[in-house]
Amino acid sequence: MEREIIEVFKESFENILNDVADTGIKKIDVTSIKPDKLIKTGFIIVISIIGDKSGEVLFEINNETAMNLIQKMSTNKNINNILKEEDNYSLILEFLNILLGRVITNLLENYGVELNISNPILIISNSMEIRTFRKESLYLIFETTIGQIGILISLVDINTQIKTNEKFLNDDFLNF
């Protein structure tokens, strides 16, 4: 399933980036990361996933790339002259909303995996430390013509999640 999820994210990201921001991808790197801290700066957007799989998808975009994306999106849709500076965040969030919408549609129609997403949470910081507590997460790094965009996918099968919670209750909570 891991390979299918990567393929769906890669294909959806490429299509949406092209459709919404007229931007191409030069290179994609996929790595698997163990629970560890990631030091990141710029825009971080967290979206929770529930359904057949549960967890989080986290997007990280540095300030310069975020501004390039906003500029491309508004110019592509000819609305750059009517947007205010405070509207910029809305563009980033909507980009991710559209991307995840495409991912969810593809996963359901092609693989029968049903997921729902939360409203995205945007965090902006010049210095932050992110930790994943899943056993393993996938980290996709897209090298685009406007800069680098990272997507951290941390999802587990819902049955695995229930077993993990039960183990936590048995091993830790009850012995507390």
């Binding site: 849709k77 000819n78 947007l83 809305s90 559209i98 359901l108 129609e109």
Partner: protein
């Protein structure tokens, strides 16, 4: 007479895109709403002929979506035309929207040509039947 349009979406990006597109038709954007409750309040106040409604939208109690707003508005006025706007293009999402009373739907990213086609069909229902 121009058709009065209410645009409901929490994203200003989408509101502007829809506003720009419908302004090319025989339509006037009479208002914008940003959440479920705002949508119903603005509908009552502005009495639009057509509403574009985002499905995945916040509500003040965190429990409702654009589908609930669609149902509420259709109960207030069954004749109003509602176009659901969604990032989800799968069948289940479309069926939910139609069950809630939506007249049509558009999948994001919004294609202006498609949006104009949907609006033209809603404004000329008899022409579409021919």
């Amino acid at each position: 007479m121009k058709y009065k349009v209410l645009i409901v979406d929490d994203s200003i990006f989408i509101r502007k895109i829809i506003g720009e597109a419908v302004s090319k038709l025989n339509c006037e954007v009479v208002g914008e709403a940003v959440d479920v409750e705002d949508a119903v309040e603005k509908f009552l106040k502005l009495k639009p002929d057509i509403v574009t409604m985002d499905i995945h939208m916040p509500s003040r109690d965190g429990k409702k979506s654009g589908v609930d707003a669609c149902k509420a508005i259709k109960e207030l006025n069954p004749d109003v035309k509602i176009v659901m706007v969604t990032a989800l293009g799968h069948r289940k999402s479309v069926i939910d929207a139609i069950k809630a009373g939506a007249n049509d739907y558009i999948v994001k990213p919004i294609d202006e040509e498609n949006l104009i086609k949907v609006f033209t069909k809603l404004m000329n229902p008899n022409a579409a039947k021919k």
